[in-house]
Symmetry: C2
Subunit: 423 residues, 2 copies
């Protein structure tokens, strides 16, 4: 199967500064085979990308797909009130089939707003994997382990790791330790050992709130980062979600990790968690990707909204408008996110030999006009609705904003029944 993209305005996300050029792109099966100004070759499908910006699919480095039913549910509350009185009681009642339909709804929203890869931590991930395979997305999956819910999760992690541990698999299985405050040293050690055994990484929440840091200090007389370091969690690749309250001495530890930090600006604002100092992390050479968190806390999975917010927050938090620029934000949402997930050799840029995870953005919109700076337009003016076509692993999964191979109305009907039953 060959797909030829003609007349693209390509933003390849390869260099330290933007490289934008008119070109054709040939995709052969899963791989980007050729990027040349004019490609005359027979292809099974030809996509005319005139007036389209072509760039790598966005990488969402932290989310919980199955939480889609919680959009706006008992919103604008204090975190613990919201969790204990809105979310937890309902989560206990979620059935395996619910996880499937909720996850599929999230996949649709992700694809429609230009995301091709995500990193998810939740429970009954076997059902999420089914939805992800149905959608055609690429994802990192992990079964969330806490002291109170270990049960069969290591075994499921091992089973699904082995199932998807083959060349060119779109599903990658990580180990998930929920957070320093919900995992004691024994639980964390179990996670580290499992990750080492499988030669995979760990997905964990870290330093999301000031309270969390306080709890850990009271309990272990050290910071959350030091606590994780002591149980040798950083021996394996990690995705650290949030990372807001990282001190200078924590930074010395985190500087040396494999993987990186997932910055979730909207969730962090909406839950009044705080502002992550992304500028400082990046200056210290740490990979920082962008994540949406679950719909429950952010109400949206649109990575364009997260990109805006990531830029605005850094500029106002540092009181320095040059602290981050639009291209750097786009890098965080693509290749740097890929690095956080250890996928930088497969995705995150448009280069010959990489997997064809490609999005086409309709540039013929009034709000993207004039085009003084395409990167500024993409970050500060575009939104998910401008994404026209999405290709994942060489396969077209959305064309002219129509999701292929999924009956959207059916998904909504199914989710509607879950909402009526539970909320």
């Amino acid at each position: 199967m060959k797909t030829l993209i003609k007349n693209a305005i390509l933003l390849d996300m390869v260099g330290e500064t933007p490289n934008i050029r008119k070109t054709d792109i040939l995709v052969n099966d899963k791989i980007i085979e050729k990027i040349e100004s004019k490609i005359d070759e027979n292809a099974d499908e030809v996509i005319d990308a005139k007036e389209m910006i072509v760039m790598p699919g966005l990488v969402n480095t932290h989310t919980h797909l199955a939480m889609s039913i919680f959009r706006g549910y008992k919103d604008d509350r204090k975190l613990m009130d919201w969790l204990e009185n809105a979310i937890f009681p309902v989560e206990d009642k979620l059935r395996p089939a619910d996880i499937y339909w909720n996850s599929l709804l999230s996949c649709i929203e992700l694809i429609k707003s230009g995301t091709t890869t995500f990193n998810d931590m939740y429970f009954r991930m076997d059902k999420t994997i089914e939805a992800v395979e149905k959608s055609g997305m690429r994802g990192v999956i992990s079964w969330c382990i806490t002291d109170d819910s270990i049960k069969d999760k290591p075994e499921m992690t091992r089973k699904y790791f082995n199932k998807y541990n083959y060349k060119d698999s779109k599903i990658k299985v990580y180990v998930s330790a929920h957070a320093p405050y919900s995992c004691n040293p024994e639980t964390l050690k179990l996670c580290v050992d499992l990750a080492k055994e499988l030669n995979t990484g760990i997905h964990i929440h870290l330093s999301e709130t000031m309270d969390e840091e306080k709890t850990i200090r009271e309990r272990y007389e050290q910071s959350a980062t030091e606590y994780l370091n002591d149980v040798e969690l950083f021996d394996v690749p990690v995705v650290l979600a949030h990372g807001i309250y990282i001190s200078d001495s924590d930074l010395e530890i985190i500087k040396n990790i494999k993987g990186g930090i997932s910055h979730n600006p909207i969730s962090n604002c909406k839950l009044s968690s705080g502002i992550c100092n992304v500028t400082k992390l990046r200056e210290n050479g740490i990979n920082v990707g962008i994540g949406t968190d679950g719909i429950g806390s952010t109400t949206t999975l649109d990575m364009f909204e997260e990109m805006k917010m990531a830029a605005y927050l850094q500029k106002v938090n540092t009181m320095e408008p040059t602290s981050i620029n639009a291209y750097q934000i786009l890098k965080m949402a693509t290749i740097e996110g890929a690095k956080v997930l250890g996928l930088e050799n497969e995705i995150g840029t448009i280069e010959v030999g990489k997997k064809a995870d490609i999005i086409l953005i309709d540039n013929n919109k009034t709000h993207l006009y004039p085009e003084n700076d395409i990167c500024a337009n993409l970050v500060y003016s575009a939104n998910g609705a401008d994404v026209d076509t999405v290709i994942i692993d060489g396969k077209v999964v959305m064309r002219d904003r129509k999701i292929l191979g999924i009956d959207e109305d059916e998904v909504k009907e199914k989710v509607d029944k879950i909402v009526k039953r539970l909320l």
Copy 2:
């Protein structure tokens, strides 16, 4: 001319809490004549609003329409570097016809993202008015006065005030004093006298940056607010744009103003100006509307983006998620914005007798599903592209996202020529 909107999901924005109901709405000429569950009446146009949220048009309380060509232009810079090396040299070269086309481009973007009323301060506003009349929008217009550019502006203000000072006029003319740091007491006194003479209001920037407060204190040994109070500027209705560095003693003055404050969250972040304490202003009974500022600083005129940002910033700045909720944000963007502009008797809610400034939002989108909380969905998940139909002063100006009566391609071509000549 009668327009009947059938089967609407109406969010009228009248009460202190959301009132959402299924209903029909009859518009007679410029006015909302009837809101009833079933209206059987002959109308010239019937709009089926099934699966549409119907709400008042958004009110943008501070912008500079003619700056549309600066979208993304020399972006991500320090404020003074950007102003002195990017914006000012080009502004000096803007021709009257440029102001027309640039303003018309902004009107298109505003309408396409659901804004029906704006408040603009710039120069050659006669040309902006032409564009606004072409677009069908409602607006408050003012000729920006500084010490260095008084010239014919009082005369133009007087002339156009009289021209548009008739019943049911969609154009309202204000006096504009640029800012405390660019207007000495004599200039401000001239503005106050002119506003009193015409019985109109004053549009002014106030406390946008810390530097501005410092400058005023060095110059007049008082705060910017005290300085304006001393020249009796608050004798007339005012729109105070930004209002970031307002002290507790300033608050005592501002509590008593007519009009209100225009909060511009994206501009304030993007230029690293700071965060306005909207929560505190509202607790003190001050009207706070939302504004986009010019495209130069925000890169977008989409009020849905500003609503998100206004909510996120308050929640993270106060570290209290309950500091503001989605409905309060929607009020700021509609009826409270109308109050800031002194238009609350005409627009800002959907009520019988009010002007028909109405937007229809397509609720049949995956990212607005499920509907646990329509207000949360509108603020945290919707964006301008979800606006389907826009009615201003009883006239349909956008239908199925197509702007009526303006050739969008012509506007882009004209602006393109201006961009090529100047940037």
